[in-house]
């Protein structure tokens, strides 16, 4: 409907996150990968610390460690040095060079540099690509999808030389958006394969950031989709993108290889899950597996149980665009009033929403969401929620105040049920707290 922006010069309690962090996240979902941030060392240290805190996993990332003089004279010398070291010491299968605001403002041309580097070193077998991600545009979500797109592009170019393509109609490429947890990706993979398809998720954080216990330390990513599966994914008969931000990489595959694609803007809540399962049922010709029929009933039953709890309640949500879209749809189904919806930046999907959306920060959530009962945002929102007296429900990135947040499911019937129960419980606890304090005050 409308996208607004509150008028204030500074960002106060930002939800926006540097795009390069999205790139690092995307690469964590690829096996034996190394994201290499072309910038000063803080630009890799902060994302590393933040991702570690959220996923409670070691995070693979390196930096070209630019210092002031390097930026002024020859930033690419550092990049070359970093590439030499990373390639000779760790031999990654995939290396993603991620530009930062600094290299962009300084006008460093690392795209051309990487091309000639690859030519000179005769780099074969692996996948090396670069992606330009200035901070003043987008956020985590756009950094993530742009990286997947750049990676797909490089894959297509590599395979381009290898002649014709045989299409495997029983194989689906899944492009999961940045707002999905490892458990979400796992659930989606399961749902699609329950209809008899082979699924290749690109990237696949469900096998890298979900808490495995592989021993033998490596500074590269452990788990994630291997390069050969990624190459194989080019043979898929269909691409399924979850999250509108993943449409671009899907379209890239379509334009280059003719792979048809289907975008699900979200997969959260009854309607969205219905749509996904109905679609899978139709294209596979298989019946919907019994367990999903069961789960659908379970969800409806729990929604009936919970609707007393949600009646008359209102919520404020501050999330990345795709996530906000999904969460808003889910709140709609619960009959919760949506007091304020805040997005980190503007995308076509938030533009097209039926409700009013604000592009802003957590301070806007606090001002516009005043009086809301439930607050949904990343962990930075805890104190804002406390100030307006709303129950705080952690979601998005980063979440550090809840164990196992990265394993919570939001997609499918199971996810909707988990979220509804969680939100309902938080509201119940808040109510009990209120009752307590009113007794004490007498």
């Amino acid at each position: 409907m409308t996208v607004n922006k509150r008028k204030k010069p500074a960002s106060v309690n930002p939800i926006k996150i540097g795009q390069s962090l999205g790139a690092v996240l995307a690469l964590q979902g690829c096996y034996r990968a190394m994201p290499l941030i072309h910038g000063s060392q803080g630009c890799s240290a902060f994302p590393k610390a933040l991702l570690t805190r959220h996923f409670r996993e070691p995070i693979a990332v390196q930096t070209s460690a630019l210092q002031e003089m390097d930026v002024i004279f020859d930033a690419n010398r550092n990049l070359e040095e970093a590439l030499n070291i990373v390639l000779s010491k760790h031999r990654p299968d995939i290396i993603g060079i991620v530009g930062t605001e600094l290299t962009d403002v300084a006008g460093v041309d690392y795209v051309t540099m990487l091309k000639s580097y690859k030519r000179e070193r005769n780099l074969r077998g692996g996948l090396a690509f670069s992606v330009v991600l200035p901070d003043f545009r987008g956020s985590l979500e756009s950094g993530f999808s742009a990286t997947v797109e750049a990676m797909m592009d490089e894959l297509i170019q590599q395979v381009g030389h290898r002649g014709s393509r045989t299409v495997n109609t029983r194989q689906i490429t899944l492009l999961p958006g940045s707002f999905l947890t490892p458990a979400d990706v796992m659930e989606l993979k399961e749902m699609i394969s329950a209809f008899g398809f082979e699924v290749i998720a690109v990237p696949d954080i469900s096998t890298s950031l979900s808490g495995h216990l592989l021993t033998g330390f490596s500074p590269l990513t452990r788990g994630g989709v291997p390069l050969d599966s990624m190459l194989q994914s080019l043979q898929s008969g269909l691409t399924i993108a979850v999250g509108a931000s993943m449409e671009r990489p899907a379209r890239r595959l379509h334009n280059a290889l003719g792979t048809p694609y289907k975008v699900f803007s979200g997969a959260m809540g009854l309607k969205a899950s219905d749509e996904l399962l109905h679609f899978l049922h139709q294209i596979s010709g298989e019946p919907v597996p019994l367990r999903y029929c069961w789960q659908r009933e379970n969800l409806l039953d729990s929604m009936l149980d919970a609707h007393f709890q949600f009646a008359g309640m209102s919520a404020v949500a501050a999330l990345e665009p795709d996530h906000l879209y999904s969460v808003s749809g889910w709140l709609e189904e619960l009959g919760v009033e949506q007091k304020a919806l805040i997005s980190s930046f503007e995308t076509p999907v938030v533009d097209g929403m039926e409700r009013e959306v604000w592009v802003g920060d957590l301070d806007d959530a606090e001002v516009l969401g005043k009086g809301a009962d439930l607050w949904i945002s990343n962990s930075h929102g805890i104190s804002g929620a406390a100030r307006i007296g709303a129950a705080f429900m952690p979601a998005g990135f980063p979440v550090w105040n809840e164990l196992g947040a990265y394993m919570s499911v939001s997609v499918g019937y199971r996810g909707a049920m988990e979220w509804s129960n969680k939100a309902g419980n938080l509201l119940m606890q808040r109510e009990a707290g209120h009752r307590e304090s009113s007794i004490r005050h007498r």
Binding site: P9, A10, V12, G42, L50, T52, E68, I85, K89
Partner: protein, 453 residues
């Protein structure tokens, strides 16, 4: 274009005691770890709790870093707000000074903080923003101090950033105010950031010996108490070599004697308290300190007994990024834990000497970061536990090595006598946790033993 800082400046980044001939090594591309100077500056100044901290630059620097420290406040929380000018491309092309000015005005108008710290970042430094001028103009106009912190990430390491923040305090804050008459003058604590509330334990201890804290630089500080820091009688530099320059400068300028000390371990704590009383030149106070430390030490010895038994002969690998190494070694030694490997990544020669004084000859020095290097030491030296920063925590978990977090993000306070007891307990709980045994044993069906009905 002029560099923001002269290159030779960097040679002192590791602490002023480092000889000029051996500059801080340049971070190695492809192998670098750790934060930038902007990060370091924030670590030093964010614990000034009632001030607003505005990051001047594109969103990533602030968006990825706010609320990442475990520094606690006993009251105001404005410093926990994330403020950013969040520059967009046209700001960068046409200059962000206007937006900076408007942001300062906005924050001053809405939050009425006693002061605003403004941090430059790589991009604003690169495009040559005149932050000092904007801050000065705004400060004069608004009637509150607006302090520029010129510590963009690309000038160097986190340590250098600590120093540059110290310089900003010296230049703009210390010496600009006077304490209220009823405030007793005593000691400034420099480089203590109240991680997990450690400052509070220390202050309690000092108070019971009758020593008062004049300024906290900067754990749980209020802005105005730093303005009168020059009235203190003694400066204590708490385990942060990067701020040694600040203490030195205050000695030269205001004649305040300083010493370096630590509160990790009973011995170090006692030494620090004694040193304070000694430098205050107060015999009565010295006697009080002696009585207090004796009492505390003997009580601690009692309390520690069961844990000492558990910890005796256990081996630890310590990797804290260098600065704290020697003081934590003392604490561990008192518990009977042997340090078999220690990080000297950012330590100066002076630090290394202190480390050498405290460990045995067969302790391995780990000069360079990298999780694999630390793990190798743990393996080779058959260490029982790894003590390091949060970044390496999950590396240890994957390898099923007991771990204690010692850095910025931790949640446990280890300073003072109470702190040592807490450390002993943490170490014991960690080592004795059943999870190590469970994680190490295979699933029943992998054991090859038939099911026993």
């Amino acid at each position: 274009m002029d560099p923001v800082r002269k290159v030779d400046f960097d040679s002192e980044a590791c602490g002023s005691q480092a000889p000029k001939s051996k500059p801080c090594p340049r971070p190695k591309p492809g192998e670098a770890a750790g934060g930038c100077s902007f990060d370091g500056a924030q670590i030093t100044l964010l614990p000034i709790m009632d001030a607003a901290h505005l990051v001047h630059g594109p969103i990533a620097c602030a968006g990825n870093s706010w609320e990442s420290r475990g520094t606690l406040s006993s009251g105001p929380s404005l410093s926990q707000y994330g403020f950013a000018t969040d520059l967009n491309d046209s700001d960068i092309i046409f200059g962000g000074e206007k937006k900076l000015k408007e942001s300062i005005d906005y924050i001053a108008g809405r939050f009425a903080p006693p002061a605003i710290f403004v941090y430059s970042t790589c991009v604003t430094a690169l495009i040559g923003e005149d932050m000092d001028a904007v801050c000065k103009e705004a400060g004069d106009r608004l009637g509150i101090p607006v302090v520029p912190v010129n510590s963009p990430g690309f000038v160097g390491s986190k340590n250098l950033g600590n120093r540059l923040a110290g310089d900003a305090l010296l230049q703009y804050v210390i010496g600009t105010g006077d304490p209220e008459p009823e405030i007793p003058l005593g000691v400034n604590l420099i480089g203590e950031y109240n991680i997990a509330g450690e400052m509070w334990d220390i202050e309690k201890l000092m108070n019971s010996a009758g020593i008062s804290v004049t300024s906290r630089i900067t754990g749980d500080a209020r802005y105005k108490e730093i303005t009168w820091a020059h009235h203190a009688k003694v400066n204590m530099v708490v385990c942060s070599r990067a701020l040694l320059g600040l203490a030195r400068e205050m000695e030269a300028k205001y004649g305040i004697p300083f010493f370096e000390g630590s509160f990790y371990g009973a011995k170090e704590t006692t030494y620090s308290l004694r040193q304070m009383a000694y430098l205050m030149n107060d015999r009565e106070m010295e006697r009080r300190v002696d009585r207090l430390t004796e009492r505390e030490e003997s009580r601690l010895a009692q309390d520690l007994r069961p844990y000492r038994k558990m910890l005796k002969g256990k081996k630890a690998v310590l990797y804290t990024g260098g600065v704290k190494s020697w003081s934590v070694i003392s604490a561990l030694k008192e518990l009977g834990v042997q340090v078999v490997g220690v990080g000297t990544n950012k330590s100066t020669e002076d630090d290394v000497r202190r480390i050498a004084d405290r460990v045995g000859d067969d302790t391995e020095y780990i000069p360079e970061g990298g999780a694999s290097r630390i793990l190798k030491t743990v393996r080779e030296r058959k260490a029982d536990i790894m003590i390091a920063g949060g970044r390496n925590m999950y590396v240890a978990m994957k390898e099923q090595i007991p771990f204690i977090d010692i850095n910025q993000e931790r949640h446990k306070a280890y300073a003072g006598y109470e702190g040592l007891l807490r450390l002993a307990k943490e170490l014991t709980y960690s080592l004795a946790n059943p999870v190590w045994r469970l994680a190490a044993s295979p699933a029943p069906w992998d054991k090859g033993v038939p099911y026993d009905r």
